[in-house]
Symmetry: C2
Subunit: 128 residues, 2 copies
Amino acid sequence: MNSVSLLDFEKAGGLITAIAQDVDSGEILMVAHMNEDSFRRTLELGEVVYWSRSRQKLWHKGEESGNVQKVKSMHIDCDGDVVLIGVEQVGGAACHTGRRSCFFRKLEGEGVVDVGVQVFDPAEVYGR
Amino acid sequence: MNSVSLLDFEKAGGLITAIAQDVDSGEILMVAHMNEDSFRRTLELGEVVYWSRSRQKLWHKGEESGNVQKVKSMHIDCDGDVVLIGVEQVGGAACHTGRRSCFFRKLEGEGVVDVGVQVFDPAEVYGR
């Protein structure tokens, strides 16, 4: 069965949710979205290509920073609206803040603490 | 800082994405959604309460099957529209198909293979 046919792009206006998980550690790195074109490009390229909702364009992750995500595995969930991508994160950081994972804010009691691992300085990488 | 204030419920019509991850193995079990009420209920109860988009009501996961998800940790992503919940999955299965994880369809070549671990028979648990 073709993988694209298992995906339900219609449910959420042409988009599915994509989760990038470090294929070795199991750590969740980031969550973004894909349209059908970005899903196909990801398969072709072997690197993750999201759909940027804010910029309304294909987003080849790492095209600017060099921190691409190499696809090592892909799983589709039971109702076809989420893909889980096992990746090798080049450069070690997925988050635009320079942290390894976007999930750096951990709930503790009533508040949150920053448990993020800083890998790079975003001002240097993105020049802003 | 209060955790609810870090969440952006407005971006997607009142909902954020919630990922349940086995706190021990790191396996992703399922992805669903939360509104602000379900997020608060989850914190109060210590068990995951989603918002069911199809039924348009609070969904205390496991209320029918007994397979509740005990909250062990919570992380919020950098832009506040996803929560990652480390859970203990009672009964060992998160998926309505009776499999441990909803991500049981693995892409292999042009197609997919079922790599799911069957934990229970849904016909017995849900009576359908």
